[in-house]
């Protein structure tokens, strides 16, 4: 059922309006960062239990990409910040 995500632009909205992309804690490497860095960026993902920062897109709302920190066990949402504000350094 429903949980709510407090979009910084639209206020608390049902999660059905959003699309989750995945881990927001990984930075896109520099073009010359080397094979291992790119391999890690494209393929390797942690599957943490507990607090986790993810990219969520407010697809059916303001269409902004957010960094949402939530608990993967309890689904409690701790924060939702515009990705452009947070940048990649989360």
């Amino acid at each position: 059922m429903a949980s709510l995500i407090a979009c910084p632009h639209c206020g608390p909205r049902p999660k059905e309006e959003f699309t989750v992309r995945g881990d927001a804690g990984i930075n896109r490497p520099a073009p010359d960062a080397g094979k291992d860095a790119w391999y890690a960026y494209v393929y390797l993902r942690d599957n943490p239990r507990g607090r986790h920062k993810e990219h969520w897109h407010h697809t059916s709302g303001c269409r902004r990409w957010l960094v949402v920190e939530r608990d993967t066990m309890t689904h409690a949402v701790y924060s939702a910040v515009d990705a452009a504000v947070t940048g990649e350094t989360v």
Partner: protein
């Protein structure tokens, strides 16, 4: 005919009689009756047959936990099987039918299963129907399904509507009994936004089903005062007939409101049910407690009822359970029932109290048998006598009703929906939920509180604490503190020495011996026992049975119930209709339909439509006399190649891109260069994924220095938009670039064929000669002598001289009509996506049939498009991986049959000529194919190992599904006009 209606009393409205039928027999009840109370008032106790043994079953409870009285109510599209008669309200002309019986509930041939019961015990499915394996699906399962069962769903569509909505509140109170009412009143007075939800049609809980009083007021006076005050408060919403069925993330609760389940004549403008999602800052669970059945032989015979249910029917609907009642109890509930019945002059034959030290204060007439148990009840279809055992001797008493109480279990389901485990309390001999979790507090008898005064005080005080935490510092409890007077619980999990079957789970026909044998066979763990015996797996989810099963397992394993533990509580608390879950998403509203702005134009020109995602696209335009789609498509293709054709391409994704960094941005998301694309030019672009695979393709035009217009494929329009937004917002927020989807704003029309320029020049004001507007030109144009502005692109998917004209959506049909008119003298025809597909295959153009997530640009012959000079673009880094440069990669090649009279299908595999089909011999596969009327043969595009190096090689095209082997030759993927003479014409 033992239960009956009393001549006065109750909360029914005797001035409103209601007619209904049960199994075709006319009966009468009153407003305020449930179907169950009305059946009892009519002396009808046998109402169903049990699931496995087809035993006669009656009405056991007066609420949501009812395992027996499941009826099919309504007819036609409103047929609702497995409806609990105990919660279904009576309405005029209600039609109720019993279930799982043949030919009738009174005479049921399936009852022979009872005689077979030695073979039908727990685990019999696993043991009996193991082999032969093939028999399960064909023989055993159909027979079992026919014999064991519930009601049958209708095949007719549901004529009613359903809706979903949200609600927000400071405090949600679940249950409008004493604790819930006190909590709601406390919060309402403090000014908090309150929702008070109750599954019943009348608030009050025990205040209406018991003969209690509070201080100087009767329960009903107290209730009336509280309800009147709550209704006067604008900040309190009372949601009756609303079951809160689940507790979810973010403190959101699901509730279903039965808006019109209780009416005879349905208002078509109102929903039948409404699904609420309630976002509550805090919630109080005041769901009360469930009485436990006693487990003894024949405890399922019609006439055996819960003691609390007897009181509920007695006080609410003035129904007496029988002429002569026996009470079997281990606590105060049984005595209360006896006292209530005696107060109206009804005969209570005996109170059997399993406690040897039964309390001595009983002032009624009934005899007390202290330290005794009901060993067996007998009577078959109606209770007739009861065998009471005490100290080794057995006494038989005649009785037509038995009220039983095995103690109480707090109803804690919702409090455990988010992972909290119930905790066993030795003092209460019950499982309790954590009293306070983040967002939810349990109050009243759901928290193990027992007396009315203590429940009122508990609800009020817990609400007050919550309100203070929420910032309502002025909150005061609506009731003063009151000390509880808890009973010392003495559970009796089952009676020893019963001759008949002692049922634990009534609905799934699980009896004591099943559980004992589960322990004996090593399935004593509560989760294993559940699955081995099916205890708790019926539609009632073990509301009555789980606690007794746990007690029996504990005794059989010689441990405490705390060590046995519970199975997991999950939503939904009670069954939910598919209608409520679907809401408005049914029929035409199941998913939206997207229609091109040229849909009506296509339809009036005779288009046959095809669904592509949500879109309806025109496939082909049959002319009279054409009998197959191929005839139409072949004609359209040949006419476009010879004259001209017009095609709706409005479904392509269209994205307007603005900003001073727009060019730089496009340069980073496409693998080819865009930075220096001149204004007025279109360019084909390849967008990669970060892993190097092609994501999507399309043309992007530069309309002005800082304004680009991107097209995507129809299927990936939304995905590309999301991708661009991610790149701009999350990866490169420093770039000045903005996007707007304009897919629905433009009608886009392809005009293709050697005569397309002549046709378009008639409506376009500017010079569009090859010199003035060469291939890949893109510009805003004026149409019809300045009456309309549009965008013209000289791009071609067909390989012909071709244009795409975009006009504001609302003008699409008129402009398409004008092009048809202008083209009439040139032989123009409309063509659909089938002809479009044929022409692109003839020309070797790729679509997502080739861009299938496994190909990189060089696989499709686009190696030279990939920029080697750009410092970065999405996908660049991973393109240099070893596997991406492997010589054996599947690469684009053409394929056609050696004999034009033969053909092959898309998806067929390519084998070296004569090789046997195997994974090792597999050379690749046909990704697209069609009959080409231009070539006069089937042509295909294929992804084949080293494809481009193998032009001219003879191969076998193999389709094992059809057993087809076609001799074919690999060739250039461009079958038509490889010099692009027509394109540049």
């Amino acid at each position: 005919m033992s239960s009956f209606r009393l001549s006065s009393g109750g909360r029914i409205d005797r001035s409103k009689p209601l007619d209904f039928t049960f199994d075709g027999k006319p009966m009468q009840g009153y407003a305020g009756d449930t179907v169950a109370s009305a059946l009892l008032a009519n002396g009808r106790q046998l109402v169903g047959r049990s699931f496995k043994y087809h035993r006669p079953r009656g009405i056991l409870t007066a609420g949501a936990a009812e395992p027996n009285a499941l009826l099919t109510i309504g007819e036609g599209g409103r047929t609702e099987p497995n409806t609990r008669a105990t919660v279904a309200e009576l309405y005029q002309d209600l039609i109720a039918k019993s279930q799982n019986r043949w030919p009738s509930v009174d005479f049921d041939l399936g009852a022979v299963n009872g005689l077979l019961s030695p073979f039908l015990g727990a685990g019999f499915y696993y043991k009996t129907f193991m082999w032969p394996a093939a028999f399960w699906e064909k023989v055993y399962e159909p027979i079992i399904r026919k014999a064991a069962g519930l009601g049958r769903a209708t095949y007719e569509p549901d004529p009613d509507t359903y809706e979903k909505c949200w609600a927000h509140c400071d405090l949600l109170v679940i249950g409008a009994g004493p604790a819930g009412l006190a909590a709601a009143l406390t919060a309402g007075r403090a000014g908090a936004r309150v929702i008070l939800a109750d599954e019943g049609f009348e608030p009050g809980g025990s205040l209406i089903s018991e003969s209690t009083s509070f201080q100087d007021r009767s329960a009903t006076e107290l209730l009336a005062q509280m309800v009147a005050e709550l209704e006067s408060l604008p900040n309190v919403r009372l949601l009756m007939r609303s079951t809160v069925f689940g507790w979810y993330d973010g403190n959101v609760f699901g509730a279903v409101e039965r808006v019109q389940k209780h009416v005879g004549t349905v208002d078509p403008h109102r929903p039948m049910e409404r699904l609420w999602r309630i976002a509550a800052k805090q919630a109080i669970l005041a769901s009360g407690a469930e009485e436990r059945p006693m487990v003894f032989g024949g405890n399922d015979i019609p006439g055996v009822m819960m003691a609390g249910a007897v009181r509920s029917y007695f006080h609410r609907q003035a129904v007496a359970p029988g002429r002569q009642t026996v009470v079997f109890t281990n606590g105060g509930s049984g005595y209360q029932t006896a006292a209530d019945l005696e107060a109206r002059g009804l005969d209570v034959a005996a109170i059997v109290d399993s406690r040897a030290d039964a309390p001595t204060g009983w002032a009624g007439k009934a005899r007390i048998i202290s330290g005794g148990v009901v060993r067996d009840a007998s009577g078959g279809k109606a209770l007739s006598s009861i065998a009471i055992s005490k100290g080794g001797s057995v006494e038989t008493i005649k009785a037509d009703a038995l009220a039983m109480s095995g103690g109480w279990s707090p109803i804690i389901h919702l409090a455990c929906h988010r992972g909290a485990r119930p905790v066993w309390s030795d003092a209460k001999s019950a499982f309790l939920a954590p009293e306070r979790q983040d967002g939810l507090t349990v109050a009243g008898s759901a928290a193990g509180v027992e007396t009315l005064a203590a429940c009122l005080a508990d609800g009020a005080e817990k609400a007050r604490q919550i309100l203070v935490d929420l910032g309502f510092s002025n909150a005061g409890a609506a009731f003063a503190p009151a000390a509880d007077k808890p009973e010392h619980a003495r559970p009796l999990w089952f009676v020893r020495g019963s001759k008949g079957k002692a049922f634990v789970d009534y609905q799934n026909d699980v009896h004591v011996r099943d559980l004992v044998s589960a322990v004996g066979e090593g399935y004593g763990h509560v989760e294993l026992a559940k699955r081995y015996t099916t205890n708790g797996m019926a539609t009632d989810q073990g509301k009555l049975s789980n606690i007794n099963a746990i007690g029996i397992l504990a005794e059989a394993r010689k441990v405490s119930p705390a060590d046995v533990g519970t199975t997991t509580f999950r939503p939904f608390y009670t069954p939910l209709s598919f209608g409520a879950l679907a809401g408005t998403s049914r029929g035409k509203h199941f998913q939206p339909v997207r229609k091109s702005p040229l849909h009506d134009w296509a339809r009036k020109n005779g288009a046959v439509f095809v669904e592509t995602g949500l879109w309806y696209r025109s496939s082909w335009f049959p002319k009279s006399g054409e009998t197959t789609w191929r005839e139409s498509v072949d004609r359209e293709v040949l006419n476009v190649r010879k004259n001209a054709g017009i095609c709706d391409v409005s479904t392509l994704g269209k994205i307007e891109i603005f900003g001073k960094d727009a060019a730089e941005f496009l340069n980073r998301v496409y693998c080819n260069a865009f930075l220096k694309l001149p204004v007025g030019k279109a360019r084909y672009g390849l967008m990669l994924r970060e892993d190097g695979m092609i994501y999507d393709d399309g043309t992007t035009s530069r309309l002005s220095e800082n304004h680009f217009f991107m097209t995507t494929t129809t299927a990936y329009a939304a995905g590309v938009m999301n991708h661009l937004e991610f790149c701009a917002q999350a990866l490169w927020p420093d770039l000045d670039v903005q996007f707007a989807s304009s897919t629905d704003q433009w009608a886009q029309i392809a005009v293709a064929g050697p005569k397309s320029r002549a046709i378009l020049q008639k409506i376009v004001d500017e010079d569009i000669s090859d010199a003035a507007f060469p291939f890949l030109g893109a510009r805003e144009v004026s149409l019809f002598g300045g009456r309309l502005a549009g965008r013209l692109f000289r791009i071609s998917f067909s390989g012909e001289l071709a244009y795409e004209l975009a006009v504001p959506a609302g003008y699409g049909e008129a402009v398409a009509d004008a092009i048809m008119e202008a083209g009439a003298e040139h032989g123009i025809c409309p063509y659909g996506v089938e002809a479009l597909g044929v022409m692109r295959i003839e020309k070797g153009h790729v679509t997502h049939s080739e861009i299938n997530g496994t190909v990189i640009p060089s696989d499709l012959g686009f190696a030279k498009m990939v920029s080697t000079t750009k410092p970065d673009f999405i996908g660049k880094a991973m393109l240099s991986r070893e596997g991406m440069t492997d010589r054996d990669r599947l690469s684009l090649v053409g394929v056609k049959p050696l004999d034009p009279a033969t053909t092959f299908k898309t998806g067929s595999h390519i084998l070296v000529e004569g090789a046997t089909p195997s994974l090792e011999n597999d050379q690749g596969y046909v990704s697209s194919s069609c009959y080409s009327p231009t070539i006069g043969s089937t042509v295909g595009l294929a992804l084949v190992k080293r494809g481009p190096e193998r032009h001219g090689e003879h191969v076998t095209v193999w389709n094992d599904l059809k057993g087809e082997y076609t001799k074919a030759v690999l060739c250039s993927p461009v079958f038509f006009d490889p010099e692009n003479g027509k394109l540049h014409g």
